[in-house]
Symmetry: none
Subunit: 232 residues, 2 copies
C-alpha cells in the first residue's frame, strides 16, 4: 500500500547545484536521477520512466532545449520544467514553445520549486490520494472509513462518526496497542474522565458490531489502551 515515490529526472551540469537539489528533493520524498549533461539526460529518459523532468538549458554535449525536443518526441505528456540562468524573454518564450510547463530562472528558491513540482504532479495524476481512501480488511469484515461502512457477509453496518474514527484508529494500529490517551486526544480532543467513559461505550458498540467473526477481538490492556486482535 506504500505508493512509489514520484521519479524526477534532473539534468544539471553544475555539480554543486545538482547535488544540493537532488538531496533536497529526496528529503521531500522524491526519487531523483541526476545527470550532468544533455546527452546523458536524454539517455536516462530513454532508459527509464519519469514523472517529471527538470532540465538545465546550458549544458555540455546537448543543450536543454534540444533534450526537451527529443523528450517531447518520445513522450508529449511528461511534465517538463526548464531551470535556466538565461532570463531573456526570447529564451523563456522558446522554452514554452518547446512544450515546457514552466521556465524557472536561476537563482530560484528550492522550496518554491518543490511546490511547483507538487502542483504539476497533482494536476497530472492522482498519485497522492492513497492516504485518504484507505480501506481495511479485518477477518471476514471489510471496513471503508470514507463511507463509514462496515461490511460482513453482505450485511452493511453504517457507523456513526465517532464509531468510525475509533475503528479506523484501531485498524491503523491493528494487532498493536492503541493507547487510550492517543485515541482520546485525537478523537475526543482531550483526555478527561467523561471522555474516557464515552470511549468505553464506543468500544462496547464496536465489539457488538464485530461479533460475527470470532477471529476479531478488541482486547483491553488495563490502564493502557486497546488492541484490535486479528487472528489469522
Amino acid at each position: 500500500m506504500e505508493a512509489a515515490k514520484p521519479k524526477i529526472l534532473l539534468c544539471e551540469d553544475d555539480t554543486n547545484l545538482g547535488m544540493v537539489l537532488k538531496n533536497y528533493l529526496e528529503l521531500n520524498d522524491y526519487e531523483v536521477i541526476l545527470e550532468r549533461d544533455g546527452r546523458l539526460g536524454l539517455a536516462a529518459f530513454q532508459r527509464e520512466k519519469f514523472d517529471i523532468c527538470l532540465l538545465d538549458v546550458m549544458m555540455p554535449n546537448m543543450d536543454g532545449f534540444t533534450v526537451a525536443e527529443e523528450i517531447r518526441d518520445i513522450n508529449p505528456d511528461v511534465p517538463l520544467f526548464f531551470l535556466s540562468a538565461k532570463t531573456m524573454k526570447d529564451d523563456i518564450i522558446q522554452g514554452y514553445k518547446l512544450g515546457a510547463d514552466d521556465y524557472i530562472t536561476k537563482p530560484f528558491d528550492s522550496e518554491v520549486l518543490l511546490h511547483k513540482i507538487k502542483a504539476i504532479l497533482k494536476r497530472n495524476e492522482e498519485t497522492h490520494r492513497e492516504e485518504v481512501n484507505a480501506e481495511f480488511d479485518l477477518g471476514n469484515y471489510h471496513f471503508n472509513p470514507r463511507l463509514r461502512e462496515l461490511t460482513v457477509n453482505g450485511k452493511v453496518q453504517t457507523l456513526s462518526p465517532k464509531e468510525n474514527e475509533l475503528l479506523k484508529m484501531l485498524s491503523e494500529y491493528k494487532n498493536d496497542l492503541l493507547p487510550r490517551e492517543a485515541a482520546l486526544k485525537k478523537i475526543w480532543g482531550s483526555d478527561t474522565y467523561f471522555n474516557g467513559r464515552s470511549m468505553d461505550v464506543y468500544i462496547a458498540k464496536l465489539r457488538k458490531y464485530l461479533r460475527e467473526d470470532s477471529k476479531l477481538e478488541i482486547v483491553n490492556i488495563h490502564g493502557n489502551g486497546f488492541r484490535l486482535v486479528v487472528t489469522e
Copy 2:
C-alpha cells in the same frame, strides 16, 4: 467541431493593467471576464464556468488568497494563477499551498503569461472534456444532464436546473460519498443553514423521481452528505 474560446477569470484591481491584459488575452483568442475586486471575482466564479482563474493577491473587499480558497472549495480542479507584486517567499509558498498552479510576480511579461496559460490549459484539456457532455446510466434510468432529462421505461421527466445539478453531482460521485458542503458550495454558492434545508428538499424530490427502480437509492450519511447507491 468548433471549440469555444477558453474562458478566463481575471481578478485585478488595477484598472489599467486589467484592461491591457484583458485586451491582450482577447487578441490571442481567449474570452476574458475582468473583475475589479475579490468579492466580485468570486461572485463571477459562482455564476459562470471558467477554464482558468488569474487572481491578483492584494485587492479590495477580499484578497486573492481568500478568493482562491473559496474557489478551491467549489472546484478543486480549475487551474489557478496568482499575479502579485508580493515577491516574498512566504507569500509565494502560501499561494502554492492554497492550490495555485503558478505564482507570477509583477511586473511580468504578457507573452510569458500567455504561454504559461497555454501550457496549463493544454495539460488540463483531457480531463476537461469529459465533464460537459457526460450522460449517466443509473439502473433502469437514463440521465442526460445537458437536456435535463431523466428517462425510465420510456417516460421522460424534465428536471429543474437545481434538481439537474444535484443529480448530476450525485451521479459523478456514484456509489461514493457526495459531501454536503461540496454540493452546497458548488450548486448553491455557500453552505448556510437555509441552503442546507433547500438541498434536503431537493433530495426528497430526486428520491421521488427515482422511486421506479428499487436498485437506486439516495442514502444519507449523517452529518456528512449523501450517496447515490446503485445496486447491480
